[in-house]
Amino acid sequence: MRIKNLRFGNLWISVTSVILGMLVGAIIMLLSGFNPIENYVSLFTGAVGSPNAIGEVLREATPLILTGLGFAVANSAGFFNIGLAGQALAGWLASVTFALAFPHAPGFILLPGAILAGAIAGALWSGIAGFLRAYFGASEVITTIMLNYVALYATNAIVKGFLAKGDGDYSPTIPVQARLRTPFLEHLTQNSTFHWGILVSLAAVVVVWWLMKKTTLGFEIRAVGMNEDASRYAGMSTKRTIISAMLISGCLAGLGGAMEGLGNFQNIIVNTALPSIGFDGMSVSLLATGSPVGIVLAALLFGMLKIGGLNISIASTTPPEIVDIVIAAVIFFVGANYLIRYLSVKLRRHPRQPEAVASDTQPEAAVAERAAQAEEEGEDTK
C-alpha cells in the first residue's frame, strides 16, 4: 500500500513540476506584456489541433523516448550519462552512412541494417566511457562530455570530407527504401514528418521495461546502482554490469539518432551544436523519474511544448523563446524535486522532524521516510 502511495508520489512530483513550470512561464509572459492564457491556448491547439500537429508531436517525441530510456538505464546503474547527444550523433551518422553505402539493397535488409548500425555506433561510443569507468575509475561525467565534442567534430569532418558532394555541408538523401517516412503516414497526417520510428521507440519501451524488471541483468544493474559493495558481496561483477548498462544506454541513444537520420532528416548535416535530443532526453527521463511509461508521457509533453510553442509566435507577437523558458522552468522544478518532496511531506502530514525517524522508534514514520530516502538514492518506481 505504501509502495503505491510512493508511486503516486512520483507522479505527483512530475505533474507539480509541469504546473509550476507553466506558472513561471505565465508570470514571465505577464511581466513582458503578453497574454498567458491566449498563448497557452494557441500552444495547445498548435500541439493537438490538427492531424499535422499531432504527427509533428509524435515525430518530436520518437527520439526523445529513446534517449530518455538510455539515460534511465545508465542512471539505474548509478551512471550519469551526459553523452547521450554524442552517442545519438554517432548513431545518426552510422545509420545514414549504412543506408548510403548500399543504395540498391532491398528495404527489408537496408532499413533494419541501418537502424542496427545506429544502435551499434551509439553503444560503442558509450562503451568507451563505460570501459574507462569500470577499469580505470574515470568519471563518466567528464569522459562523456568530452566524447560529445569528439563525436560532434568527428561527425562534421566525416560529413564534409566523405559524405557531402563537393563543398556542401550535408550528405545526399538516403535511398527511399531506407526511409522511415512513408507517403502513407504523410497522407494520414497532412504532410507532417511523422514516421514509423515511433514503433521502434514503443518497442524499446517494452524491451527496456522487461530487461530492467524481469531479467538477471536488469536486477544486477539496479543492484549495482543502489549499492556497489553489496552487489560485489552477492557475487556480481560490477565492472561487467557497469559496462553492460552503458552499452545499453548508448545503444538506445544511437537508436534515437538513427530515428533522426532515417526519419526526420533523411540525411546527415554538418551540425553547429550537438543534437538537442541528447539533453532533452535527460530532461524527459528526469521528469519521468526513470519509469518507462513515464518516459513516453514526458516525451509526448516535450513534443507538445516544442511543436505547440511554434504556434505561439505565429498566433501572437510573443517570441518563441518563451516556450524554452517554460521548458527550462519545468526542468528546474524537476531538479528541485527534493524541494517539492519536502514541501509535499510538510503539506500532507502535520509537521514532523526528520531527525525522529533516524532512530529506531517509529515504524510507520520510518517506513515512509526511509522509503523516500531510498528513492532519492536512485530507485526507480516499482
Binding site: 531479467t215 538477471t216 543502489m226 558481496y233 557475487g235 522532524q353 510507520e364 526511509r370 531510498a374
Partner: protein, 516 residues
C-alpha cells in the same frame, strides 16, 4: 545543589507519529548525582523520549521539568542552555579537525572579531579533562584517534557547554571491552561530581555495572523503575521483553566433523600496501564454532574479505571443503557452500532501497528456479522469500517494502535467513548480533547453534567476548593480523582472552595456546 535534587522530571510525556504512539504517558524522575539507566528493546521508545528531552522532538502532550521548573524545549539549543547534553550513538565530529577544534566548534571563544581564543579554550578543556578523568590529546586530529577517545571528546564537548544532565544513547555499541570498562568508570565519576547521567541501553550487563536505578520501557510505556543493584539479570530481561529470556546457550556435544575451512599462512595486504593479515593459520571442522576474538581493526575485516573473495590475497592458501579457493571470486566461493553474515549489514549485507524479495534473492537469483537463461522467475523468488521471512520470523508489513524500512534486528534476521537457507558448509558470521536487543540475540544465537548441530562449520568473529564465550567451541585470538593463541573456550578466562587481545602473553599457558 544537593545530591537528592531532581535534575529532570517528565510527567505524562506522550509522543505520537500519526497513529503510532512512540511514548505513552511516560512519567519518571532523574536525580542529580546518579546514573539512571533507561532499558528497552529496539523500538521501545527510548530514543524518542531522549530526543524530546534534548529538544530535537517536541512532545504531543505532557510536561518536562528541569530542576523543578516546567520548560518548553523548542530546539536542541534550548536544551543546551538548560544544561542538557546528549552524546549520540554515532559521533558528530569533524574528522579533519583537531580534538580541541571539535570541542570548541559552535561555542568558539574569540579574542577580537573572528580570532579564535584557543588558549583559554584549551585551559578550560584540559581542566575538565583532568577533573573527570577524560584523557585526550587536544592536538590530535579526530581521524587519527581511537573510537574510545572520540567518545571522550564527545563527552568533553557536552561538559564544555556546561551540561549537568548528560544523556548517552547506546554509548558502548562501538567500543571494545576495555573501552567500555573505562567509560563506565567515567559515568560513575560524572555522577559523583553531581551530574545526572542518563544511560540508554539494551545491554543488561552494563546497566548492572553502573546504573543506580533503571527505568524499563516497553512499547512506549514505563513498565517499572527498579534498583539495578538488587535486581537480577533475568528479571531485567524479562521486564524488558515481556517474557522469560534464557542466557544459557545449549551446546550439544558434537563429534568432530570433516575439515571444512583450512587457512594456511595467509597474508593480506591492503591498497595502501599495509600488511593486514600475516602468518595466519586456522582450521575449522564441521559441527564446530570457532570464535575469533580480537580488538576491532586487528585484521578481522581483511581476513573475512580475503576468505570470501572480496579482497585479493597476497600469499598463503584458503581451502574450503578440500578445494583450493584462494583468489576465487565471491560467487565461486558462495557456490562452494559458504554463507557470509557481513560485518556491516547495511553496506554489504543488504541493498536497502531494494525490496525484501530482491534482497532475499541476492545470492540465488542466477540459479534455477529463481531464473532461467537470464530471465527472472518472480513467483519462485516471492515464494522463497515468504517462506524464509516466516520461518525466521522477520517482522515486515509487505514483501515489496524496501529492506531499509525493517528494524536493525529484522534486517539481520533477513540476512541470516538468506545465508542459512542455502545450508552452507561454512558460515562466516561477523558480529552477527551487533546493536540488537536480547530477544533478537537469543534468536540469532539459537540459529547459529542449530547450524552447528546440523554439522556446519562456523567462523564467528565478534567484538563481544560474551558472545564468543557463549557460542564457540574453540576461541582463537587475533592481534595485529595474526593468531596469538587458541584454545578450548573453557580453558581461557575472560581476562586471559583480554590479555591476548591486547597483545600480551598469558603466563603458564603458552604451550596450550600454541598447541593448535
Amino acid at each position: 545543589m544537593a545530591l537528592t535534587d531532581i535534575a529532570i522530571e517528565v510527567r505524562g510525556l506522550t509522543k505520537r507519529f500519526g497513529d503510532f504512539v512512540a511514548n505513552d504517558h511516560i512519567s519518571m524522575q532523574i536525580k542529580s548525582g546518579t546514573v539512571h539507566g533507561l532499558l528497552g528493546e529496539n523500538g521501545a521508545g527510548k530514543t524518542t523520549m531522549m530526543n524530546m528531552l534534548s529538544g530535537i522532538l517536541q512532545p504531543t502532550s505532557g510536561e518536562i521539568l528541569v530542576h523543578g521548573q516546567s520548560v518548553h524545549l523548542a530546539s536542541a539549543k534550548d536544551a543546551t542552555q538548560l544544561g542538557i547534553g546528549m552524546v549520540h550513538q554515532h559521533f558528530m565530529l569533524v574528522e579533519n579537525f583537531t580534538v580541541l577544534e571539535n570541542i570548541m566548534l559552535g561555542v568558539e571563544e574569540t579574542k577580537g572579531p573572528g580570532v579564535l581564543n584557543r588558549h583559554d579554550a584549551r585551559d578550560k578543556i584540559m581542566a575538565l579533562s583532568k577533573r573527570y578523568g577524560l584523557s585526550i590529546d587536544p592536538d590530535a586530529q579526530v581521524a587519527d584517534i581511537s573510537v574510545g577517545m572520540q567518545q571522550r571528546v564527545e563527552i568533553l564537548k557536552v561538559l564544555y557547554r556546561n551540561a549537568d544532565i548528560l544523556i548517552f544513547d547506546e554509548p558502548t555499541a562501538v567500543l571494545t571491552p576495555q573501552e567500555i570498562k573505562e567509560l563506565l568508570a567515567i559515568f560513575r565519576r560524572l555522577a559523583n561530581e553531581g551530574k545526572a547521567v542518563v544511560l540508554i541501553s539494551h545491554k543488561l550487563k552494563e546497566l548492572q555495572a553502573v546504573a543506580d536505578v533503571t527505568t524499563i520501557i516497553r512499547r512506549g510505556k514505563v513498565i517499572d523503575t527498579v534498583d539495578t543493584k538488587t535486581t537480577s539479570t533475568e528479571k531485567l530481561a524479562e521486564l524488558m521483553v515481556g517474557r522469560h529470556v534464557t542466557f544459557q546457550r545449549e551446546r550439544v556435544p558434537m563429534p568432530a566433523g570433516p575439515e571444512i575451512l583450512k587457512i594456511t599462512d595467509l597474508r593480506v595486504v591492503d591498497k595502501q600496501k599495509v600488511t593486514r593479515v600475516h602468518d595466519f593459520d586456522l582450521t575449522i571442522h564441521g559441527g564446530e564454532i570457532v570464535g575469533l576474538a580480537g580488538i576491532d581493526g586487528n585484521g578481522q575485516s581483511e581476513l573475512v574479505r580475503a576468505i570470501t573473495g572480496l579482497m585479493p590475497t597476497a600469499g598463503g592458501q584458503v581451502t574450503i571443503a578440500g578445494q583450493d579457493r584462494t583468489g576465487a571470486t565471491p560467487r565461486q566461493i558462495t557456490r562452494s557452500g559458504v554463507g557470509h553474515i557481513p560485518e556491516d549489514r547495511q553496506r554489504y549485507g543488504l541493498i536497502l532501497p531494494m525490496s525484501l524479495v530482491d534482497n532475499m534473492s541476492l545470492q540465488v537469483y542466477t540459479l534455477a528456479p529463481y531464473s532461467h537463461h537470464g530471465v527472472l522467475n518472480p513467483k519462485a523468488m516471492i515464494a522463497n522469500t515468504e517462506n524464509l521471512l516466516s520461518e525466521y520470523d522477520v517482522r515486515h508489513s509487505n514483501i515489496e517494502e524496501p529492506a531499509g524500512s525493517l528494524s536493525g534486528g529484522n534486517q539481520q534476521k533477513l540476512i541470516i535467513a538468506r545465508e542459512l537457507s542455502r545450508e552452507p558448509q561454512l558460515l562466516i558470521a561477523v558480529n552477527p548480533t551487533r546493536g540488537l536487543d536480547v530477544g533478537a540475540i537469543e534468536f540469532i544465537h539459537q540459529q547459529l547453534l542449530a547450524a552447528r548441530a546440523a554439522g556446519h562449520a562456523i567462523l564467528l568473529i565478534s567484538y563481544e567476548l560474551d558472545e564468543i564465550r557463549q557460542l564457540a567451541d574453540r576461541v582463537a585470538v587475533i592481534h595485529d593480523g595474526t593468531i596469538v593463541g587458541q584454545a578450548e573456550t573453557n580453558a581461557l578466562s575472560e581476562s586471559e582472552i583480554g590479555l591476548l587481545m591486547a597483545g600480551e602473553t598469558v603466563s603458564g599457558k603458552e604451550e596450550m595456546l600454541n598447541a593448535h
